[in-house]
Protein backbone atom coordinates (compact mmCIF):
# COMPACT_ATOMS: atom_id res chain seq x y z
CA UNK A 1 0.00 0.00 0.00
CA UNK A 2 1.42 3.36 -1.03
CA UNK A 3 0.41 6.06 1.47
CA UNK A 4 -1.17 9.33 0.34
CA UNK A 5 0.03 11.40 3.28
CA UNK A 6 3.10 13.31 2.07
CA UNK A 7 5.21 12.62 5.17
CA UNK A 8 4.45 8.92 5.03
CA UNK A 9 5.17 8.93 1.32
CA UNK A 10 8.52 10.64 1.82
CA UNK A 11 9.46 8.20 4.59
CA UNK A 12 8.58 5.19 2.41
CA UNK A 13 10.54 6.63 -0.54
CA UNK A 14 13.47 7.23 1.82
CA UNK A 15 13.35 3.64 3.07
CA UNK A 16 13.27 2.43 -0.53
CA UNK A 17 16.30 4.50 -1.52
CA UNK A 18 18.16 3.49 1.64
CA UNK A 19 17.62 -0.08 0.45
CA UNK A 20 15.65 -1.17 3.51
CA UNK A 21 12.65 -2.68 1.77
CA UNK A 22 12.47 -6.35 0.91
CA UNK A 23 12.28 -7.41 -2.73
CA UNK A 24 8.47 -7.55 -2.88
CA UNK A 25 8.01 -4.11 -1.32
CA UNK A 26 10.72 -2.65 -3.54
CA UNK A 27 8.95 -4.01 -6.65
CA UNK A 28 5.69 -2.49 -5.41
CA UNK A 29 7.36 0.92 -5.16
CA UNK A 30 8.84 0.59 -8.64
CA UNK A 31 5.46 -0.33 -10.11
CA UNK A 32 3.68 2.46 -8.25
CA UNK A 33 6.15 5.10 -9.40
CA UNK A 34 4.73 4.79 -12.91
CA UNK A 35 1.38 6.14 -11.87
CA UNK A 36 2.27 8.09 -8.74
CA UNK A 37 4.31 11.16 -9.59
CA UNK A 38 4.54 12.27 -5.95
CA UNK A 39 6.19 8.97 -5.11
CA UNK A 40 8.49 9.19 -8.14
CA UNK A 41 9.70 12.65 -7.20
CA UNK A 42 10.15 11.63 -3.56
CA UNK A 43 12.38 8.76 -4.73
CA UNK A 44 14.40 11.10 -6.97
CA UNK A 45 14.76 13.53 -4.07
CA UNK A 46 16.33 10.89 -1.83
CA UNK A 47 18.41 9.34 -4.56
CA UNK A 48 20.08 12.66 -5.34
CA UNK A 49 20.40 13.97 -1.81
CA UNK A 50 21.86 10.79 -0.34
CA UNK A 51 24.17 10.04 -3.27
CA UNK A 52 27.25 11.71 -1.69
CA UNK A 53 27.19 8.93 0.94
CA UNK A 54 28.54 6.63 -1.77
CA UNK A 55 31.93 8.25 -1.14
CA UNK A 56 32.09 6.19 2.07
CA UNK A 57 32.60 3.01 0.07
CA UNK A 58 36.29 2.97 -0.84
CA UNK A 59 36.97 2.49 -4.55
CA UNK A 60 38.45 -0.88 -5.43
CA UNK A 61 39.84 -2.53 -8.53
CA UNK A 62 37.32 -4.83 -10.20
CA UNK A 63 38.69 -8.18 -11.40
CA UNK A 64 40.66 -7.53 -14.59
CA UNK A 65 38.41 -9.64 -16.81
CA UNK A 66 35.27 -7.68 -15.94
CA UNK A 67 35.38 -5.25 -18.86
CA UNK A 68 36.01 -8.07 -21.34
CA UNK A 69 32.98 -9.90 -19.98
CA UNK A 70 30.80 -6.80 -20.34
CA UNK A 71 32.09 -6.16 -23.83
CA UNK A 72 31.60 -9.76 -24.92
CA UNK A 73 28.11 -9.85 -23.51
CA UNK A 74 27.09 -6.69 -25.32
CA UNK A 75 28.68 -7.88 -28.56
CA UNK A 76 26.91 -11.20 -28.34
CA UNK A 77 23.61 -9.49 -27.69
CA UNK A 78 23.55 -11.15 -24.29
CA UNK A 79 23.03 -14.71 -25.40
CA UNK A 80 21.54 -15.90 -22.19
CA UNK A 81 18.17 -17.54 -21.72
CA UNK A 82 15.52 -15.54 -23.50
CA UNK A 83 12.87 -14.80 -20.95
CA UNK A 84 10.03 -12.35 -21.22
CA UNK A 85 10.00 -9.81 -18.43
CA UNK A 86 7.14 -10.07 -16.00
CA UNK A 87 5.48 -6.83 -17.07
CA UNK A 88 4.88 -8.43 -20.45
CA UNK A 89 1.89 -10.33 -19.17
CA UNK A 90 0.54 -7.70 -16.83
CA UNK A 91 -3.09 -6.89 -17.45
CA UNK A 92 -3.02 -3.24 -18.39
CA UNK A 93 -5.67 -0.57 -17.94
CA UNK A 94 -6.47 0.44 -21.49
CA UNK A 95 -9.08 3.09 -20.59
CA UNK A 96 -7.22 5.98 -22.14
CA UNK A 97 -6.36 4.18 -25.33
CA UNK A 98 -9.52 5.35 -27.03
CA UNK A 99 -10.22 3.93 -30.42
CA UNK A 100 -9.13 6.29 -33.17
CA UNK A 101 -7.77 5.88 -36.62
CA UNK A 102 -7.87 2.49 -38.21
CA UNK A 103 -4.85 0.64 -39.50
CA UNK A 104 -5.40 1.97 -43.00
CA UNK A 105 -5.03 5.54 -41.84
CA UNK A 106 -1.88 4.61 -39.97
CA UNK A 107 -0.38 3.21 -43.14
CA UNK A 108 -1.24 6.47 -44.91
CA UNK A 109 0.68 8.29 -42.21
CA UNK A 110 3.60 6.06 -43.03
CA UNK A 111 3.66 7.60 -46.49
CA UNK A 112 3.33 11.16 -45.20
CA UNK A 113 5.71 10.91 -42.28
CA UNK A 114 8.53 8.76 -43.63
CA UNK A 115 11.96 9.87 -42.52
CA UNK A 116 14.25 11.35 -45.19
CA UNK A 117 16.18 8.14 -45.66
CA UNK A 118 12.96 6.26 -46.27
CA UNK A 119 11.71 3.70 -43.78
CA UNK A 120 13.27 0.29 -43.87
CA UNK A 121 11.39 -1.03 -40.91
CA UNK A 122 7.88 -0.44 -39.71
CA UNK A 123 5.91 -1.56 -36.67
CA UNK A 124 2.33 -0.90 -35.71
CA UNK A 125 1.93 -1.01 -31.95
CA UNK A 126 -1.47 -1.99 -30.64
CA UNK A 127 -2.97 -2.77 -27.29
CA UNK A 128 -2.47 -6.55 -27.01
CA UNK A 129 -6.16 -7.39 -27.25
CA UNK A 130 -7.07 -4.79 -29.84
CA UNK A 131 -6.61 -4.21 -33.55
CA UNK A 132 -6.52 -0.42 -33.38
CA UNK A 133 -2.93 0.76 -33.56
CA UNK A 134 -1.78 3.31 -30.99
CA UNK A 135 1.69 3.98 -32.34
CA UNK A 136 3.47 3.68 -35.63
CA UNK A 137 7.24 3.14 -35.48
CA UNK A 138 9.43 3.56 -38.52
CA UNK A 139 13.14 2.92 -38.83
CA UNK A 140 15.41 4.34 -41.52
CA UNK A 141 19.17 3.86 -41.79
CA UNK A 142 20.03 5.82 -38.68
CA UNK A 143 16.76 7.04 -37.27
CA UNK A 144 13.63 5.77 -35.60
CA UNK A 145 10.42 7.76 -35.57
CA UNK A 146 7.54 6.79 -33.29
CA UNK A 147 4.24 8.56 -33.80
CA UNK A 148 0.91 8.35 -31.98
CA UNK A 149 -1.67 7.46 -34.59
CA UNK A 150 -5.02 7.26 -32.86
CA UNK A 151 -4.82 10.18 -30.49
CA UNK A 152 -3.39 7.93 -27.79
CA UNK A 153 -2.37 10.05 -24.83
CA UNK A 154 -0.94 8.92 -21.50
CA UNK A 155 -2.96 9.28 -18.29
CA UNK A 156 -2.78 12.73 -16.67
CA UNK A 157 0.64 13.46 -15.22
CA UNK A 158 2.20 10.41 -16.92
CA UNK A 159 4.28 9.94 -20.04
CA UNK A 160 4.66 7.25 -22.66
CA UNK A 161 8.09 5.70 -23.02
CA UNK A 162 9.25 3.70 -26.02
CA UNK A 163 11.21 0.44 -25.62
CA UNK A 164 12.93 -1.93 -28.00
CA UNK A 165 12.73 -5.62 -27.15
CA UNK A 166 15.34 -7.81 -28.80
CA UNK A 167 14.74 -11.53 -29.30
CA UNK A 168 17.79 -12.72 -27.37
CA UNK A 169 18.08 -9.94 -24.77
CA UNK A 170 16.35 -10.22 -21.45
CA UNK A 171 15.92 -6.52 -20.73
CA UNK A 172 14.16 -4.04 -22.97
CA UNK A 173 16.20 -1.08 -24.20
CA UNK A 174 14.84 2.37 -23.41
CA UNK A 175 14.55 4.55 -26.51
CA UNK A 176 13.10 7.64 -24.89
CA UNK A 177 10.09 9.40 -23.50
CA UNK A 178 7.52 10.31 -26.12
CA UNK A 179 7.02 14.08 -26.12
CA UNK A 180 3.53 15.56 -25.61
CA UNK A 181 3.05 16.02 -29.36
CA UNK A 182 3.14 12.24 -29.70
CA UNK A 183 6.23 12.12 -31.95
CA UNK A 184 9.58 10.75 -30.81
CA UNK A 185 12.58 10.93 -33.11
CA UNK A 186 15.53 8.79 -32.09
CA UNK A 187 18.51 9.99 -34.11
CA UNK A 188 21.86 8.31 -34.79
CA UNK A 189 20.36 4.94 -33.98
CA UNK A 190 22.10 1.89 -35.46
CA UNK A 191 18.94 0.37 -36.91
CA UNK A 192 20.79 -2.72 -38.21
CA UNK A 193 20.43 -4.18 -34.73
CA UNK A 194 16.65 -4.13 -34.99
CA UNK A 195 16.19 -7.41 -36.89
CA UNK A 196 13.54 -9.46 -35.09
CA UNK A 197 12.89 -6.72 -32.54
CA UNK A 198 9.57 -5.62 -31.13
CA UNK A 199 8.61 -2.25 -29.76
CA UNK A 200 6.55 -1.48 -26.72
CA UNK A 201 5.13 1.66 -25.15
CA UNK A 202 4.72 1.79 -21.39
CA UNK A 203 3.23 4.34 -19.01
CA UNK A 204 5.92 6.02 -16.89
CA UNK A 205 6.53 9.04 -14.68
CA UNK A 206 6.94 12.31 -16.64
CA UNK A 207 10.74 12.06 -16.94
CA UNK A 208 10.66 8.40 -17.96
CA UNK A 209 11.16 5.22 -16.00
CA UNK A 210 13.24 5.96 -12.90
CA UNK A 211 14.67 2.45 -12.87
CA UNK A 212 15.68 2.19 -16.52
CA UNK A 213 13.24 -0.66 -16.98
CA UNK A 214 9.52 -0.38 -17.68
CA UNK A 215 7.75 0.29 -14.39
CA UNK A 216 4.22 0.96 -15.63
CA UNK A 217 1.83 -1.09 -17.74
CA UNK A 218 2.76 -1.81 -21.34
CA UNK A 219 -0.08 -0.33 -23.32
CA UNK A 220 1.04 -0.84 -26.92
CA UNK A 221 3.22 -3.47 -28.46
CA UNK A 222 4.12 -4.60 -31.95
CA UNK A 223 6.70 -6.50 -33.96
CA UNK A 224 8.97 -4.74 -36.38
CA UNK A 225 8.71 -5.69 -40.05
CA UNK A 226 11.25 -5.05 -42.75
CA UNK A 227 9.86 -3.25 -45.79
Amino acid sequence: MIPTDSEELSALAGEYVLGLLDAADAREIEQAMATNSALASAVTFWQERLDPLCALAPPADPPPATWDRINAKIAAGERHIPRLPRWWNDPAPWRWATAGLAAAAAVMLLVVARPPTGPHYVALLSAPSQQTPGFLVMGGHTEIVARAVSGAVPPKGRAFELWAIYPNVSRPQALGVIPVNGVLRVKDFPTEILGGASFAVSVEPPGGSPTGQPTGPVVFIGKLRTI
Partner: protein, 197 residues
Amino acid sequence: MGAVVSDTVADRGTDGRVTALSSAATLVEAIGRGSRIALKRLYDLESKRLYGIALRIVRRPEVAADVLQEAFIQIWQNARSYSPERGAAQAWLTGIVRFRALDAVRKTGREVLSGDPALGDAAEEPDVIERIGAEAEASALRRCLGLLDDIQRRLVVLAFVDGYSHSEIAERIAEPLGTVKSRIRRGLAALKTCLAP
Protein backbone atom coordinates in the same frame (compact mmCIF):
# COMPACT_ATOMS: atom_id res chain seq x y z
CA MET B 1 26.18 -10.11 -35.68
CA GLY B 2 24.01 -7.02 -35.98
CA ALA B 3 25.36 -5.64 -32.73
CA VAL B 4 28.93 -5.81 -33.97
CA VAL B 5 28.15 -3.99 -37.20
CA SER B 6 26.13 -1.35 -35.39
CA ASP B 7 28.90 -0.66 -32.95
CA THR B 8 31.30 0.14 -35.72
CA VAL B 9 28.79 2.53 -37.22
CA ALA B 10 27.95 4.19 -33.93
CA ASP B 11 31.54 4.60 -32.84
CA ARG B 12 32.56 6.03 -36.17
CA GLY B 13 29.82 8.60 -35.66
CA THR B 14 31.23 9.84 -32.38
CA ASP B 15 34.92 9.24 -33.03
CA GLY B 16 35.71 12.87 -33.65
CA ARG B 17 34.35 13.89 -30.27
CA VAL B 18 35.68 11.05 -28.23
CA THR B 19 38.67 12.89 -26.83
CA ALA B 20 36.37 15.63 -25.53
CA LEU B 21 34.21 13.17 -23.62
CA SER B 22 34.97 13.43 -19.95
CA SER B 23 32.03 14.04 -17.63
CA ALA B 24 29.73 11.19 -16.73
CA ALA B 25 26.73 13.06 -18.14
CA THR B 26 28.40 13.59 -21.53
CA LEU B 27 29.48 9.97 -21.62
CA VAL B 28 26.03 8.67 -20.75
CA GLU B 29 24.59 10.80 -23.51
CA ALA B 30 27.10 9.38 -26.02
CA ILE B 31 26.36 5.85 -24.81
CA GLY B 32 22.70 6.58 -25.47
CA ARG B 33 23.65 7.25 -29.08
CA GLY B 34 25.25 3.81 -29.23
CA SER B 35 28.93 4.62 -28.70
CA ARG B 36 30.79 1.62 -27.33
CA ILE B 37 33.90 3.82 -26.98
CA ALA B 38 32.01 6.08 -24.60
CA LEU B 39 30.93 3.04 -22.60
CA LYS B 40 34.56 1.96 -22.29
CA ARG B 41 35.60 5.44 -21.18
CA LEU B 42 32.83 5.48 -18.60
CA TYR B 43 34.06 2.11 -17.39
CA ASP B 44 37.64 3.40 -17.17
CA LEU B 45 36.52 6.47 -15.24
CA GLU B 46 33.89 4.99 -12.96
CA SER B 47 34.45 1.26 -12.55
CA LYS B 48 36.63 1.49 -9.43
CA ARG B 49 34.18 3.75 -7.66
CA LEU B 50 31.14 1.70 -8.73
CA TYR B 51 32.82 -1.61 -7.94
CA GLY B 52 33.71 -0.26 -4.50
CA ILE B 53 30.05 0.64 -3.91
CA ALA B 54 28.91 -2.84 -5.00
CA LEU B 55 31.62 -4.63 -3.02
CA ARG B 56 30.68 -2.74 0.12
CA ILE B 57 27.12 -4.08 -0.16
CA VAL B 58 27.64 -7.64 -1.43
CA ARG B 59 31.02 -8.26 0.28
CA ARG B 60 32.14 -10.96 -2.12
CA PRO B 61 34.41 -9.90 -5.01
CA GLU B 62 32.94 -12.37 -7.50
CA VAL B 63 29.40 -11.22 -6.72
CA ALA B 64 30.46 -7.56 -6.91
CA ALA B 65 32.01 -8.23 -10.33
CA ASP B 66 28.72 -9.75 -11.52
CA VAL B 67 26.86 -6.72 -10.18
CA LEU B 68 29.22 -4.36 -12.00
CA GLN B 69 28.78 -6.35 -15.21
CA GLU B 70 24.98 -6.32 -14.99
CA ALA B 71 25.01 -2.64 -14.13
CA PHE B 72 27.11 -1.73 -17.19
CA ILE B 73 24.86 -3.76 -19.46
CA GLN B 74 21.87 -1.95 -17.98
CA ILE B 75 23.67 1.38 -18.51
CA TRP B 76 24.34 0.41 -22.13
CA GLN B 77 20.72 -0.53 -22.70
CA ASN B 78 19.12 2.42 -20.94
CA ALA B 79 21.46 5.35 -21.42
CA ARG B 80 19.15 6.63 -24.11
CA SER B 81 16.41 7.20 -21.56
CA TYR B 82 18.67 9.20 -19.26
CA SER B 83 18.05 12.93 -19.25
CA PRO B 84 19.55 15.55 -16.93
CA GLU B 85 16.05 16.32 -15.58
CA ARG B 86 16.17 12.89 -14.01
CA GLY B 87 18.99 13.95 -11.80
CA ALA B 88 22.75 13.99 -11.91
CA ALA B 89 24.37 11.31 -14.04
CA GLN B 90 26.45 10.18 -11.05
CA ALA B 91 23.34 9.51 -8.98
CA TRP B 92 21.76 7.71 -11.94
CA LEU B 93 24.81 5.44 -12.24
CA THR B 94 25.15 4.72 -8.55
CA GLY B 95 21.41 4.10 -8.30
CA ILE B 96 21.72 1.36 -10.93
CA VAL B 97 24.69 -0.23 -9.16
CA ARG B 98 23.18 -0.04 -5.67
CA PHE B 99 19.86 -1.57 -6.69
CA ARG B 100 21.61 -4.36 -8.62
CA ALA B 101 23.78 -5.02 -5.57
CA LEU B 102 20.76 -4.99 -3.26
CA ASP B 103 19.00 -7.44 -5.59
CA ALA B 104 22.02 -9.74 -5.39
CA VAL B 105 22.08 -9.56 -1.59
CA ARG B 106 18.34 -10.18 -1.33
CA LYS B 107 18.64 -13.15 -3.66
CA THR B 108 21.67 -14.88 -2.26
CA GLY B 109 22.00 -13.44 1.20
CA ARG B 110 25.20 -12.13 2.65
CA GLU B 111 27.89 -14.61 3.45
CA VAL B 112 29.06 -13.01 6.64
CA LEU B 113 26.78 -11.03 8.87
CA SER B 114 28.69 -10.50 12.06
CA GLY B 115 32.23 -10.90 13.29
CA ASP B 116 33.61 -9.45 10.08
CA PRO B 117 35.96 -6.66 11.09
CA ALA B 118 35.21 -4.79 7.88
CA LEU B 119 31.50 -4.68 8.56
CA GLY B 120 30.08 -1.23 9.00
CA ASP B 121 33.47 0.25 9.65
CA ALA B 122 32.57 3.53 7.99
CA ALA B 123 29.58 3.81 10.25
CA GLU B 124 31.75 3.25 13.29
CA GLU B 125 34.20 5.96 12.45
CA PRO B 126 33.65 9.29 14.16
CA ASP B 127 34.67 11.35 11.13
CA VAL B 128 32.07 9.76 8.86
CA ILE B 129 30.53 13.13 8.05
CA GLU B 130 33.87 14.56 7.05
CA ARG B 131 34.45 11.86 4.50
CA ILE B 132 31.51 12.43 2.21
CA GLY B 133 33.10 14.95 -0.07
CA ALA B 134 33.32 18.69 -0.42
CA GLU B 135 31.02 19.28 -3.39
CA ALA B 136 27.98 21.49 -2.96
CA GLU B 137 25.45 18.64 -2.78
CA ALA B 138 27.69 16.78 -0.34
CA SER B 139 28.04 19.77 1.94
CA ALA B 140 24.25 20.05 2.31
CA LEU B 141 24.07 16.38 3.23
CA ARG B 142 26.99 16.74 5.62
CA ARG B 143 25.37 19.68 7.38
CA CYS B 144 22.05 17.83 7.66
CA LEU B 145 23.60 14.56 8.85
CA GLY B 146 25.24 16.65 11.55
CA LEU B 147 21.80 17.39 12.94
CA LEU B 148 21.05 13.70 13.51
CA ASP B 149 22.09 11.92 16.67
CA ASP B 150 24.95 9.44 16.41
CA ILE B 151 22.74 6.38 16.23
CA GLN B 152 20.44 7.82 13.55
CA ARG B 153 23.44 8.78 11.46
CA ARG B 154 24.94 5.34 11.85
CA LEU B 155 21.68 3.69 10.79
CA VAL B 156 21.48 5.80 7.63
CA VAL B 157 25.04 4.77 6.72
CA LEU B 158 24.47 1.09 7.53
CA ALA B 159 21.44 1.11 5.25
CA PHE B 160 22.62 3.22 2.33
CA VAL B 161 26.32 2.32 2.20
CA ASP B 162 26.33 -1.22 3.58
CA GLY B 163 22.94 -2.21 2.18
CA TYR B 164 21.63 -3.58 5.46
CA SER B 165 17.96 -4.39 5.85
CA HIS B 166 15.92 -3.34 8.87
CA SER B 167 16.40 -6.72 10.52
CA GLU B 168 20.13 -6.89 9.81
CA ILE B 169 20.54 -3.48 11.40
CA ALA B 170 18.45 -4.53 14.40
CA GLU B 171 20.69 -7.56 14.86
CA ARG B 172 23.84 -5.55 14.43
CA ILE B 173 23.01 -2.82 16.93
CA ALA B 174 21.08 -5.20 19.20
CA GLU B 175 17.85 -3.25 19.30
CA PRO B 176 14.27 -4.39 18.63
CA LEU B 177 13.15 -4.20 15.00
CA GLY B 178 10.38 -1.72 15.78
CA THR B 179 12.80 0.61 17.52
CA VAL B 180 15.16 0.51 14.56
CA LYS B 181 12.35 1.25 12.12
CA SER B 182 11.10 4.23 14.07
CA ARG B 183 14.61 5.59 14.63
CA ILE B 184 15.24 5.49 10.88
CA ARG B 185 11.89 7.12 10.17
CA ARG B 186 12.69 9.93 12.59
CA GLY B 187 16.10 10.32 11.00
CA LEU B 188 14.58 10.49 7.53
CA ALA B 189 12.02 13.07 8.66
CA ALA B 190 14.79 15.26 10.12
CA LEU B 191 16.88 14.89 6.96
CA LYS B 192 13.90 15.71 4.79
CA THR B 193 13.22 18.95 6.65
CA CYS B 194 16.87 19.93 6.47
CA LEU B 195 17.50 18.90 2.83
CA ALA B 196 14.26 20.09 1.26
CA PRO B 197 14.77 23.06 -1.04
